[in-house]
Symmetry: C2
Subunit: 548 residues, 2 copies
């Protein structure tokens, strides 16, 4: 029987496991060791405290050492670091960071939830940079906030366009700074694909963020006051936030001889056991199985960490619950927009050489006739033969989280794109349309699967037109004044049936419109009149998010 459990790391995975353990048993001894001062804090809220959206610092502390010790009868040792594990004798060494003294502690089962740490590459000038920050915990937060409060910096550079980088860019803008965001890739926000990210690029720029893509930091000069970019360009700044990703906290596991994956994540089986059966590991530090592709992945998110913490607790106490893998459902607020994604994106599927089909639609968040409806750019990725859903991405002002959550649920339910058409989602004008955007994405995808709709993508159409393909823009002439795909010929949809004679029958015809719907209608008219036809998926809206 498990009598004594020691947990390394007292935040998302660790604290959740501790609470669950106590609920399972009043008898087990639970020691929670945390290097920092704080346990159980709201990592995810840190950027918003700096931006003063969250005003009260104490709100970041979901639980305190005293509160949680008392409620769950835990032995919590904060400001204490586990420095080594001896799996043979089942002991750890703990260093009290206040006294500097180390001591041994035994365990029956050990849980590692040490998290991850910001990647800090050896950039020249880094050591001398006095205004360089990373953000992971409360002390980091206090430092950044104090710097902004006290020094009133005018300019900030955020290096890295992931979640934390983008959230910090927003929150620093909220504090009145001019922010430059530097990203090495050709897009920010890796979970989504480039045509979706392009919407965010435009929005960030509208909000005054200077965006520098495909560029990196080569050097810091003048104690960080000057940043030299890979292309030689120099940027002045008063502060720099480095947020180019995280690396698993794996030192402890490594020195204990636990197996690590290629990217340094602790390897666990489906019961969240490491290569040592008495040592479990969860959270940002572990390598997970990608739920869609079945490949190995690192997905450092709070939901999975919490879920794994509970499952590991169950299993340490003798249950046999499996962790199903991580879908990677993620979301961020980006000023007025929300961006969310679930499952695999095109980049991943291409890398894995998985064939897929894509649909882009632009439905309203709710009935267009009810006030404040806003468009959602919704992308669905699926298998054309089986209808299996690989993933989805969405951006908009409202209702984005709902649609991605519904699709994430559909994926877990093994639903196909046809099944999406049959989802019965709640409808009244303030909330949705009689056909919800998710139903609609399902309809379009099902039409592709059934061969009723053939498409080309935004990145294919220019070449097709250049090579002489006929592209018919079926919008009204007025709409074209705001832009159109070069080389397209205009025949408004309602005039199409009367102009069929002018359209060649011996080649594939391409059609496009504003969002894809009228193009689809045109494609049906043409197809049912014997033409070969393909619709530009997502219409001008998707095309112009990159090329507009």
């Amino acid at each position: 029987m498990t009598k004594k459990i020691l947990i390394v790391g007292g935040v998302a995975g660790g604290a959740t496991a501790a609470a669950r353990l106590r609920r399972i048993s009043e008898d087990v001894e639970i020691i929670l060791v945390e290097r920092g001062e704080h346990i159980s804090f709201a990592n995810c809220g840190l950027p918003y405290y700096i931006g003063e959206k969250i005003k009260d610092r104490s709100k970041l502390l979901v639980q305190t050492v005293n509160g949680m010790s008392e409620r769950f009868n835990l032995d919590i040792r904060n400001l204490s670091e586990v420095t080594t594990i001896n799996p043979d004798t089942k002991h750890v060494t703990i260093k009290n960071l206040q006294t500097g003294q180390s001591y041994e502690e035994s365990y029956d089962k050990l849980l590692l939830s040490p998290g991850a740490k910001p990647i800090v590459p050896p950039i020249p000038g880094l050591a001398e940079n006095k205004t360089l920050f990373t953000l992971r915990n409360i002390p980091d937060t206090d430092k950044i906030k104090a710097y902004v409060d006290e020094h009133n910096p005018k300019r900030a550079v955020v290096v890295g366009g992931g979640f934390i980088g983008i959230e910090m860019a927003e929150n620093l803008v909220e504090r009145g700074l001019h922010v430059t965001l530097i990203e090495m890739a050709n897009q920010i926000m890796a979970p989504i694909d480039i045509e979706m990210a392009s919407i965010l690029h435009t929005h960030l720029q509208q909000k005054g963020v200077e965006l520098i893509l495909e560029n990196g930091v080569k050097q810091f000069k003048q104690q960080g006051k000057i940043i030299v970019l890979a292309d030689g360009r120099e940027i002045e700044t008063n502060m720099t936030l480095l947020s180019i990703g995280v690396r698993p906290e794996n030192e402890l596991a490594k020195t204990a001889g636990l197996k690590l994956g290629e990217r340094g994540g602790i390897i666990v089986n489906e019961y969240l056991q490491t290569s040592n059966q008495d040592i479990y590991a969860v959270g940002d530090a572990v390598e997970v199985v990608d739920y869609i592709s079945g490949t190995k992945a690192m997905i450092p998110l709070a939901g999975p960490a919490n879920r794994q913490g509970r499952i590991a607790a169950n299993n340490m106490m003798g249950k046999r619950e499996t962790y199903q893998g991580t879908l990677g459902t993620s979301i961020a607020k980006v000023f007025d927009l929300t961006v969310a994604a679930t499952g695999n994106n095109e980049k991943i599927l291409n890398r894995l050489d998985v064939p897929y089909e894509v649909v882009h639609i632009h439905p309203s968040s709710h009935a267009g006739y009810y006030p404040n409806a806003a468009p959602i750019a919704l992308k669905l990725i699926f298998n054309k033969e089986t209808g299996k859903i690989y993933g989805a991405q969405a951006i908009g002002m409202d209702g984005v989280d709902k649609r991605i959550d519904v699709i994430a649920t559909a994926i877990k339910g093994n639903l196909t794109v046809e099944d999406l058409t049959n989802l019965e989602l709640s409808y009244a004008p303030p909330f949705s349309s009689a056909k919800d955007p998710v139903n609609m994405a399902g309809y379009v995808a099902a039409n592709i699967k059934e061969g009723e709709l053939e498409q080309v993508q935004w990145h294919e159409i220019d070449d097709i037109v250049t090579e002489g393909g006929l592209l018919i823009d079926v919008r009204e002439p007025m709409e074209r004044e705001f832009g159109f795909i070069k080389g397209s010929k205009n025949i408004p949809l309602n005039a199409l049936r009367n102009q069929l004679e002018q359209i060649p029958r011996d080649e594939t015809i391409y059609v496009s419109c504003q969002v894809g719907l009228r193009g689809y209608l045109a494609s049906r008219i043409l197809k049912n009149n014997g033409f070969k036809v393909k619709n530009v998926d997502g219409g001008w809206k998707t095309y112009s998010s990159v090329f507009g």
Copy 2:
């Protein structure tokens, strides 16, 4: 081959079918016959136009006769009523309501989407009531709005507390009227159960709506200026809206000899064919299969009508697509609150004698530390043995639609309550918590299924205490100042472990707290110390929504 299709009814089901038919074929002749002036209008938006939330009347007209005829090459005959069907000769009689002339029209396939009409019982004084309204279409809307605009009525009575009644109550309040809502049942909003509806009762009253339950209209006096209630009470009013439900428009089907169900709905098979194989029917007029219980039901909602319209179109053109039944997912805005539900409620399950278990939780719409989080009252109904989800209900200011849609999707994916714990939903502080409310409902339900948690319901605890049961309220003394369950003894959660000696071991102990969470923690402490214990599900919050 199908050459000519005639559609009766040109709004949700009918217009959708017409559009889909044309997309399937350019050759089929499509005649759409609509009794009213308008086709394809936004029924669901009508109350909001009266309330002036929707300002522009033309926004209610999603499509016009001309626009839709042109786009889809349809023969639309509005202000025309199909008066008889002759299934043997496959002809209908159409009466032109402008000229009064009738003529015959043949069909290969006929689609009925005639909708439903407001129930108007033969109340004494009804014929003389000059200010009695019902709301189904644009002319109804114009009448009500004109009356409000021109006569500036001070008081309105809404009879019937379903969706339309509640939406109208709100919109009339928005127009400055004092509204009295009369409902025959002991609760408004039939899709939810009474303890959930009680939250709405309180909210409506806070918004100035006078709510009269378990009472009906016996008589109208003085041309409707006085309403006499069943209990003899008299109410003065300037106008009355009758919204006590709808009845299928089944005259045509009945006289054509089509089979009707007990409640008058046209009977269709899974292909949406009526008892005559060339006549299909969809929408409010048909009897559907309840997706959860498999029993017959009437569920007059726009999503199902639209979905059925498309499926019927497919099938009339030779496909064999089945309609899966109706889950009854529904939603309404009620002033600052949203109420939504999916699947079966307790009332239905009790009627069908299906055993079930219930969970009430009160999580935040998003992370509590991020501004504007608001509680959601979320109820999950499930089978304790199998974990099958029967239904869910939710009320709150924000994020209600999302949670109900996720659960509706889970139901369609055949997911169990355990599966809800494994849903990977999008989390960042503005949108959710690391454990989403849906995950949380899953955890609580799974604990019940596993026997880790035993509960009593809000309606059971008073009797238990009266009969001498020991109820321990584990909240802080301060919290009890706002109310507590009569007869409960206070032992704050954190003090519980030290007071175990004072708690009798020979009887079941009942525990309660604010929302159920601390009660659960207390129940674990007690259970793991050898006590028999049950938690009051949903805590004081659920209990007090009825008894508070």
